[in-house]
């Protein structure tokens, strides 16, 4: 497998987009994409959490390997996530109370956002080093942010359109997501030619 930094970046940002192709972070993807303003803020906070914990979990991984306690990895990772989320929450509360109110219940829910937990697991299974891990974390969370913003922009337009009342809500969102996902399939094969 090609492990150059550029390839990792393009691969996890577009080709294997975390939301649309690997199905991670679906709950917030569907729940928070009603408004563009909320969507991009959520995307940026998730990016922040993922990047910080991507680096932290690399350190934790090295520590666990040296102590031979790899079987604790799920517990250790989830605790790191919980504390990073707590940190982000405090940071946002201090810097922007308005944003804090807007994100509301979804901020603690980053803890159970699978995208956040999946980043270190994928780092492990692919054996990335520190720089690769960081690039991967930024690209993967950037992909999440991108998909969330795209979907929210489309959903804002569907408010004015006339859809059958049964399809309103989750079903419509899923069909929109399917179309987006098909679009992202077009990126497959990018970066493999070189």
């Amino acid at each position: 497998m090609n492990d150059s930094l550029g390839h990792i970046f393009i691969d996890s940002l577009l080709i294997n987009n975390f939301v649309l192709c690997v199905f991670l972070g679906m709950c917030s993807f569907i729940g928070l994409s009603q408004k563009f303003s909320t969507a991009w803020r959520m995307g940026v906070s998730v990016m922040f959490v993922i990047t910080v914990r991507g680096v932290l979990s690399y350190g934790a991984r090295q520590l666990m390997m040296s102590l031979h306690v790899e079987y604790l990895r799920i517990i250790v990772y989830i605790i790191i996530i919980a504390s990073t989320v707590q940190l982000t929450e405090m940071f946002i509360k201090k810097t922007s109370p308005a944003l804090f109110r807007e994100l509301g219940v979804y901020l603690p829910l980053i803890t159970t956002n699978c995208a956040v937990l999946a980043v270190p697991l994928f780092q492990d299974s692919r054996g990335y080093n520190l720089i690769q891990s960081t690039v991967f974390a930024i690209a993967a969370s950037g992909g999440y942010c991108l998909a969330l913003m795209l979907l929210s922009l489309i959903r804002e337009r569907t408010y004015l359109s006339d859809v059958p009342s049964l399809a309103k809500g989750t079903a419509l969102t899923l069909i929109l997501a399917a179309i987006l996902s098909m679009t992202f399939m077009g990126f497959a094969g990018m970066g493999t030619g070189s």
């Binding site: 649309l20 192709c21 690997v22 199905f23 991670l24 972070g25 679906m26 709950c27 993807f29 569907i30 079987y71 604790l72 990895r73 799920i74 517990i75 989830i78 605790i79 919980a82 603690p108 829910l109 803890t111 159970t112 956002n113 699978c114 956040v116 937990l117 999946a118 697991l121 994928f122 299974s125 049964l166 399809a167 989750t170 079903a171 419509l172 899923l174 069909i175 997501a177 399917a178 179309i179 996902s181 098909m182 399939m185």
Partner: protein, 234 residues
């Protein structure tokens, strides 16, 4: 169309609302009604076998964590409850992780990173917070079992649609002749979104009809009572 599609209509609504097992299995089905736990629902359902394996793994975690959380619910201070719940869930998931590895390596490889990701499945934390933290042990365990099996059921519904259309097989058994051209899109990510949307639409239609029937029934009853009252007055 599929082998277990008819069964989801024949099972009907749960008769007793306060029965936690049936409540999770049908009335409050985590996928079709509450729309929770989307990631494994979409990612793992490209074959029925994987869907069932994932469903059972989640059931195990959900039952175990609900039971344990209910046991310790009075000992845990309110401020640290989420952290405690997460630690309990993570322990259960570690058990499942090694259990699946011990039982079947091919299944373990197929499920890949999604087994550790059960920790981040919103259903489990939601049930812990909404049910197990308040109710006695036996009820919580039944609730976990019902929710888990409801989840497994929903996953196999989705897996059926995707495998039958996408590969022409069900549980690996070929259903159509050799001339069947598989609709590969259903095995790819967009197929997951589309088939879940279709299931949700099916259930929405079904619920809508039921609600309309009930309204009609209530109206008829009201009219009847009205007439009786008139008759009494006359």
């Amino acid at each position: 169309m599929s082998d277990n599609a008819p069964s989801c209509h024949s099972s009907g609504p749960a008769p007793a609302a306060d029965n936690p097992f049936l409540n999770g299995l049908w009335k409050q089905n985590p996928v079709f009604v509450q729309v929770l736990g989307m990631c494994p629902t979409l990612a793992i359902t490209n074959s029925v076998r994987n869907a069932i394996a994932m469903g059972l793994a989640t059931t195990f975690v959900l039952t175990g964590s609900n039971c344990m959380i209910s046991v310790v619910r009075k000992l845990v201070p309110k401020q640290v409850r989420i952290a405690t719940f997460i630690a309990i869930i993570a322990t259960m998931v570690t058990v499942v992780d090694y259990l699946v590895k011990a039982i079947s390596i091919p299944v373990y490889k197929a499920l890949g990173a999604y087994i550790p990701l059960i920790v981040a499945n919103c259903i489990i934390l939601e049930r812990a917070e909404a049910y197990a933290a308040r109710k006695p042990v036996w009820k919580s365990t039944m609730d976990g079992l019902g929710m888990g099996l409801g989840f497994a059921f929903a996953l196999s519904c989705l897996g059926t649609v995707r495998e039958v259309l996408g590969a022409g097989t069900w549980l690996g058994i070929p259903l159509f002749g050799p001339n069947f051209e598989p609709w590969v899109l259903f095995l790819l990510p967009p197929g997951g979104f589309i088939s879940l949307a279709l299931w949700l639409l099916t259930f929405a239609t079904w619920r809508d009809r039921k609600a309309k029937r009930e309204i009609a029934k209530a109206k008829a009853q009201e009219e009847k009572m009205h007439e009786e009252q008139l008759a009494v007055h006359a």
